[in-house]
Symmetry: C2
Subunit: 618 residues, 2 copies
Amino acid sequence: MVTLATSCFTKINEGESVLFTLSIANDATPFVLKRILVAGKEPISEIKFEKGTYHFYPDKGYEKFAYISNHGDLMVNTPFLIEGFKNLTIDGQGSTFIFHGVMIPFFIEKSENISIKNVSIDWHEAFHSEGLIVANDEVNKTFDMQISKEYPYEIRNGQIYFVKEYYEHNLGQTILYDPARKAIAYNTKDYTDISVYTRTKSQNNINKIKYKYDYDKRAPEFKHVGIESRLTFEQLEPGLVRVHGGHKKKMPPLGMILTMKGEQGYNRVSPAFKVSYTNGFNGTNVNVHHAGGMGIIAENSSDLILDNFNIIPSKGRMVSTTADATHFVGCRGKVVLKNCTFNNQLDDATNVHGTYQKVVDILSDSKIGVRMMHHQQKGFVIGQPNDTVGLVRLGESFFPYGKMTIKNIEYLNNRYQIISFNEKLPEDFKVGDLIENLDGYPDLLIQNCKINNNRARGLLISNPVNTIIENNFFSTEMEAILIPVESGHWFESGNAANVIIRNNVFQDCLHGGRNRGVIRFVTDDNNENIAFKNIEISNNIFNQFDNLILEVANTDGITFSGNKITNSGTFPQLYKENPVIKIKSSKHIKFKNNKYSGLVHLDNMLETDQPMSNLKFK
Amino acid sequence: MVTLATSCFTKINEGESVLFTLSIANDATPFVLKRILVAGKEPISEIKFEKGTYHFYPDKGYEKFAYISNHGDLMVNTPFLIEGFKNLTIDGQGSTFIFHGVMIPFFIEKSENISIKNVSIDWHEAFHSEGLIVANDEVNKTFDMQISKEYPYEIRNGQIYFVKEYYEHNLGQTILYDPARKAIAYNTKDYTDISVYTRTKSQNNINKIKYKYDYDKRAPEFKHVGIESRLTFEQLEPGLVRVHGGHKKKMPPLGMILTMKGEQGYNRVSPAFKVSYTNGFNGTNVNVHHAGGMGIIAENSSDLILDNFNIIPSKGRMVSTTADATHFVGCRGKVVLKNCTFNNQLDDATNVHGTYQKVVDILSDSKIGVRMMHHQQKGFVIGQPNDTVGLVRLGESFFPYGKMTIKNIEYLNNRYQIISFNEKLPEDFKVGDLIENLDGYPDLLIQNCKINNNRARGLLISNPVNTIIENNFFSTEMEAILIPVESGHWFESGNAANVIIRNNVFQDCLHGGRNRGVIRFVTDDNNENIAFKNIEISNNIFNQFDNLILEVANTDGITFSGNKITNSGTFPQLYKENPVIKIKSSKHIKFKNNKYSGLVHLDNMLETDQPMSNLKFK
């Protein structure tokens, strides 16, 4: 190796390596922030922490208003304001960071090549609450919960409020956990969600309120109109609460734990990582024990690699994060999840999609006004200049009927933006059409991950580029893998193509009790059009307690091969009438080399909406 | 006059005069905004409107998060985003602008010399609601309200919610209006505020929640802990509502109108004008018929002149703006209110003050951390570089014990900022001291204004510079003029000096029933220190229904001369035991040439805390 005189090179200011010691542990926020805020003048390449436990309070944190996809929108507070950074590593060296109240631990925006490693993240108090079911009464429709001192509460006008440091929530969204399995209770759908609403009984002239434009009745600012709580809460003794009022499903069983996270629209305020407009993010050897929202929400970013990035509950809590473990909206380049554990979160292990935005104004021959349709998409900007946008009319096709490239986007408010294109709009373009960003989907790899004990799906994927799902373990409450096109509610865009699902183990998925396939392709437009293409499902093991494995609709080209299907016997079957595979509105379906030793008779293995002579399961 | 060749001069780009016609009247927001947003490239000197009625909706308005003094803090929406403008006139030419929902009609920031004239502002639906008292029952402690169709409502779990276009409010803050006088009901204090809260009865471990730092129990995020509604609402028939639950004062009298504006901390979201960091603002021939907050809130601005700027209710409503008519925080230069009518607003006609911020950290010998103490001061920045800040310890003196000049302010979050000074802190400086901006007070002139029928005070003034109050008419529910120093609740800074109150008429002020002086100087620190200096009260007419005219404390130098005091007989007296003038902890008080023809015997005219031999009322 030749040593060159350093003077031959322009000095690259690589930035300082900063070490924080445990002297700041009582409230690390002001110290970390002080250094980060001067990084423009005094660059940082690395921030290390002496191994130990650090507390972070919001009182002296940096605040910034943020619209966050699939979260509430709020003035967020963070110690790690990673904005406009390049080539920064934050190394916890095995430390634990304990957050207090509504904060975003890592707020990463408009940056490049950011690595965060060797750190565990937890919260002093949880954003959800838990109650052990200790009595129930089907006649009087009541049940009793024992609520431990970790979850302080009070009853105001008959309604329960769980009060935390800097936060509170009401009953809201609920699901049962089985403490013996530390997983979602078997067949929880018969018991939860606890019914919380009923129609108001006394109104006057409410129906006279008119809106000039579309409005979103489900948005937090409108959703309470016309409804009230159907429940009332009675404290029998401190910590023991009886729930009255006609929950419409079965009373929750004794010994189960009811997890409560407050009302939708208000209960996602503190994701652990928010990454946006960032190219290159690595999360390595990270444990997220809790968050009041997702483990990571990434938007409009590229090349995100999570390696040994784990969502695992702490302190005996049933719940880790109160929403998805990970979630990627409009991300491109590579998205990789490998060697991760996603346990006990209250929503999907991942969700990968874009957004559909609705055309509400045609302002010129190359300029439109668009509306963000779901309140959790408020403020989302669909793309960057020169991105290719698809023009979509889902009733006619799941694929775009035209393409345009973005010239620029004028952000007016969280529901309305003006988009100018480089080209003229097609003649048949019309108000009511949707747009999606065709450049905003990734090459997705999910490998060696363990996904279990959580609410909802394993993977929810709307990705027309490439997706590989391999060597993972799934034991999920709903579908292990859901691949949808939908536009009626969430407006999460993307059909799917080039999906490989191989060498995974599916163990007792759908134990929450829904009548669905472990792997499921579905659209919410009831037509024959093709939405999904080129799917391989190979060499997986399905060890399920119930029949239905694969549910396919609107698909052109699935190969299902080398899979083994066995019956686990773990739980009682719920849907004995089901086949193993359901197929509709699909073509080019191949089965080969699969082994079946489940409970369904071979003649009843397939249910199809048309004769498919070449469709043999062997 | 010599005509010079124009070529001798550099062309001054004066900007375009823009005229909007009634073609945009259905929703003027996107059209106005479109033009304003390109003003950087295509300057505007004037925006005129063809005379007529224009509607403004928020759907396509410009949004921006704003902390607004003495309001809620929120994502605001505006068509008139006047930011960074210089020399702009907006001329309504007699038009009426009707706003829909949560909007700020005029959002003016970092601008110079802005004039708005010849326009009336109203809202399609009011941010408050009104109910006519049609029955009451002192035995069962209930009263019944007839609620007209202008105020749609529903009852959710026993609580009433008034639902508007894009907004709703609960009962919250209330006061009675007398429809015959279209003014606050005589002695409303015996009936209102309606008692809305009681302590929660069932709690568990709430008292175990600990905070590391100061927190504000009155802030919206904490205020509900430990309380619940004491009232329940029953709809007897559509539009007729019975209020149960033990309101603690007398039941409101038949025929009065209860105005309800929702809960404090949530009910000020749409002031008509927000002006900040602006030098030179003229509001001329403006009528503000309503606003969900103040008529105008001005912060950190200078040279503000309101001329014929009127707050007047419309559409038969009892209420105009739901908060102060005008409010000035940290304003300097000239502040002028002349020829204005301030009627029926639900708070003061004006409030002029600075802020006290509390020192919570000493970070170096010239750097401190400060906390914003009241939640309605969140986000307020106390001054600009080189402003002189006073160091205050109110328990010791109402005047600063030291002065510093600001080097810079680092804004971290809405409650915490770091201030660096050009000088070293004094040795005895300590955590817990307050700071105020001594350069943030104006030369204040209030002239030829008519202030009546509103809730609360006429003028609330904390101004140590110069104040002239002349030729005004007052008929206010509380004090006509309140001059305080207080630090226990609002943290609105400023003692007062050089105040001239002359040639005004005070007609039946304090008709709301409080036991206070029509003009009142008061501190909330119970000591002998001087807070107020050099006060002249001359040639005024006090035509009052009750005795007490002037209440003075902690004052050095008042001349009370040439005033006429008569008894109006308008209402029954409430406080017959009162003298005409109360004085404590004051000196250099002079009375001359006053005429008294009220009800108090001359011997009982003055109440003082010390013998003042030279204190003669003649």
